[in-house]
């Protein structure tokens, strides 16, 4: 490839990139999921304990509880709830854009309420009437699922079923009707079967719900963070603005100090930002306030990789080497140092990710992404661009690289 064609390739890449960035960035920015500290909302960490003492919290009862919380939240029409179980007895809930926080939190804290009601809506049995973990699943001779239940008080159940013979007995979780089986005859002995045209999945859900109702968990708020929507937006605007100011100063400084390579560094920093936004969108990651801080610090650190290489190239030029061999020696000699910087930062970020909670995990995750992206843009892409430029033979003077003629020694 001739010199001029390399320059054309360089300019072509820049023009195409600028077009792609300008075209896609507004959409990318719009699509990025913001954490609740940036758009308002609240996060609660619950610790679950059994309501009546005794039995321990089991993984399945915890899972059931979190499912029932999800149902309650969905019933409120709240978008994109994040509900995760942590450890053996914790549930973390993140809800963004909630207007009536007080009511929602009150509702979430209530233990599940399982009731069996007669056709007039009167409660005839509730969750505590059932033997803990007494509900099971069987199949009838045709392979249809049957739910078996066990009651603590056989007499009470017999009375209830006697009264309701020929009627339906509706099963409610909170105020949601789950099923309305028919009572065909009085049932004695304290065990019963519920059959109907359930799918296996429906039957399993109903069984789990009855077991959960028999041992409802009490939820205690251990940690809460709540951010007003206006405050969140303000944080977002201020911090993004701070990032833009900082990055702007860095770009100017880069060009002032390193001239031609500084321009290349500027291009790679811009592509770093774009690529990181893309990664966030593709991974559907949540950007938190500390995450923006990591993003912005990442800009500073991405530049680092460029500076280490350019300083090394400058040194090689000063030692009297030709531009091309300075470039080769400089890139080769700086790679190890740059990788050191990235590896030690990844170590610290991974540790942070493991210990951190919500927002700090956002920070650690952003750090890790930003390091990986910056390896791509500020090591490999940067090298590729600078090679194109130097080999175009158009920028031969040492002053283009921030080196004074007087500083160059004879070999």
């Amino acid at each position: 490839m001739k010199g001029s064609s390399r320059l054309i390739a360089f300019l072509g890449i820049i023009v195409i990139m600028a077009g792609v960035f300008a075209w896609t960035t507004p959409g990318l920015v719009k699509d990025i999921r913001l954490g609740l500290d940036l758009k308002g909302g609240f996060e609660v960490l619950y610790e679950a304990s059994p309501l009546e003492g005794g039995e321990k919290v089991t993984p399945s009862s915890l899972k059931e509880t979190s499912k029932s919380l999800e149902k309650r939240i969905d019933a409120q029409g709240i978008a994109e709830p994040e509900i995760t179980t942590e450890g053996s007895n914790r549930i973390r809930i993140k809800l963004a854009g909630v207007e009536n926080e007080d009511q929602v939190r009150d509702m979430l804290k209530k233990p599940v309420n399982l009731t069996f009601r007669d056709p007039d809506g009167n409660v005839v049995l509730n969750g505590t009437d059932f033997v803990q973990n007494g509900a099971g699943l069987q199949r009838d001779e045709f392979g249809n699922p049957i739910i078996t239940i066990k009651l603590k008080d056989a007499k009470k159940f017999e009375d209830v079923t006697t009264k309701l013979t020929g009627k339906t007995m509706s099963i409610y979780l909170d105020e949601t009707l789950l099923s309305s089986p028919m009572v065909n005859y009085p049932i004695s002995g304290g065990t019963a079967q519920i059959s109907g045209s359930y799918t296996s999945e429906e039957a399993t859900n109903l069984k789990d719900t009855i077991n959960l109702g028999a041992l409802p968990l009490k939820l205690t708020e251990k940690y809460t963070q709540s951010v007003g929507a206006k405050l969140g937006q303000q944080s977002l605007h201020q911090t993004v603005e701070a990032g833009l100011i900082g990055s702007g100063i860095i770009l100017v400084l880069l060009i002032a100090l390193f001239r031609i390579p500084g321009v290349v560094a500027g291009i790679t920093v811009v592509s770093y930002v774009w690529l990181l936004l893309l990664v966030f969108k593709l991974m559907n990651a949540t950007l938190t306030l500390p995450g923006i801080a990591a993003f912005v610090l990442g800009v500073g650190m991405a530049v680092d990789a460029n500076i280490i290489m350019y300083e090394r190239i400058k040194e090689e030029i000063r030692s009297g080497k030709s531009l091309l061999s300075s470039l080769k020696a400089g890139s080769k000699n700086s790679l190890r140092t740059i990788m050191d910087a990235n590896i030690t930062n990844i170590i610290a970020s991974v540790v942070l990710y493991v210990i951190g909670n919500g927002a700090i995990r956002g920070f650690a995750l952003t750090m890790i992404f930003s390091i990986l992206v910056s390896i791509l843009t500020n090591i490999f892409f940067s090298r590729f661009l600078i090679h194109l430029l130097i080999r175009s033979n158009l920028f031969k003077k040492p002053s283009y690289y921030g080196v004074k003629e007087a500083e160059i020694r004879a070999l």
Partner: protein, 311 residues
């Protein structure tokens, strides 16, 4: 200032000759930090010391008296509160007790009645056992991160370099902690993020300098004490521009986060600024002289120079 012909380097300042001053100054800072930690402890935020933290953005300038008055009416007297924001529009309040949600909304409602609906707040409530758990986890995190980085540096260098570098990065982490204790700045989870990333970042300058020292060692045979001191000085000055520029770029973004970023990110940014500045200082003034002391003036065979070099 003199020009060293052998290393083609202008030595503008002899860091090794003045090492005692640097060690002395740093030692004083460390002692002050220890005393401050023992006497005043850290000013722990709700993340580590259970309770309730409220940041109330009032949307109009407010005085301490007005804020204290509004809280006093609801029965909260003697409450620690600070003002922030561009024109004192934000009130930060710490309650030692874990406030029920009902009480929290009572407070925000009273501010909304008085100052209008633009009042917006951030509330963090942490229970005592969560706070304790987080404290324990944090200590583990700092230990694990330091050990992991130490192992990495030991693999990269011989033990003297590793030891000198690690003392210096632990010093950097301690400086951040000490200054936060001395100035009574609040320590929350983002602060830990700042300290941990300081450890991760500050090691880089040390690696760059030590790589250069190792490279220069390979090319020079004579190694009496004066010559080694000259070699360290030359290595420091050869890497100075790079070290200053890279710290400067990260410092620029940290400072703009501090100046223009949102209120809740300011302390994090400040911790980063302190860590970055200390890291730059300790690489040149602590880690490198320390390596020289550890090495002594023993004649060492070419072991130190076995690996290829970078800068």
């Amino acid at each position: 200032m003199h020009y060293n012909e052998q290393y083609h380097t202008k030595i503008r300042f002899d860091f090794i000759k003045h090492q005692k001053k640097f060690f002395g100054a740093s030692l004083i800072l460390v002692i002050l930090g220890i005393v401050s930690l023992l006497v005043f402890h850290m000013n722990l935020g709700v993340d580590f010391k259970a309770g309730t933290h409220m940041d109330i953005e009032v949307g109009a300038p407010i005085t301490k008296e007005q804020a204290a008055d509004a809280l006093g009416k609801l029965g909260y007297s003697d409450i620690e509160l600070t003002l922030g924001g561009a024109s004192n529009q934000r009130v930060s309040v710490r309650f030692d007790e874990v406030l029920e949600q009902a009480k929290v909304s009572e407070i925000t409602k009273s501010f909304k009645t008085q100052y209008g609906d633009q009042v917006s707040e951030e509330v963090n409530v942490v229970s005592p056992d969560m706070a304790q758990e987080l404290g324990v986890k944090t200590i583990y995190a700092i230990i694990i991160a330091s050990i992991a980085i130490m192992i990495y540096v030991m693999i990269r260098f011989e033990w003297r370099f590793a030891l000198a570098a690690n003392i210096a990065i632990l010093y950097d982490a301690f400086v951040v902690i000490a200054l936060f204790s001395i100035f009574r700045l609040e320590v929350n989870l983002p602060f830990i993020a700042a300290v941990l990333t300081t450890i991760g970042y500050s090691i880089n300058d040390k690696i760059v300098i030590f790589d250069r020292i190792r490279e220069n060692l390979r090319f020079s045979k004579q190694k009496n004490k004066e010559q080694l001191a000259e070699l360290v000085n030359a290595s420091l000055w050869q890497t100075m521009a790079r070290n200053i520029y890279t710290v400067l770029t990260v410092l620029i973004v940290a400072v703009s986060l501090y100046l223009f970023g949102s209120e809740s990110i300011k302390l994090f940014a400040l911790a980063k600024i302190i860590g970055l500045a200390s890291g730059a200082y300790s690489s040149v003034c602590i880690a490198s002289p320390l390596w020289l002391i550890l090495r002594g003036d023993k004649q060492k065979p070419g072991k130190t120079a076995k690996a290829p070099v970078a800068s």
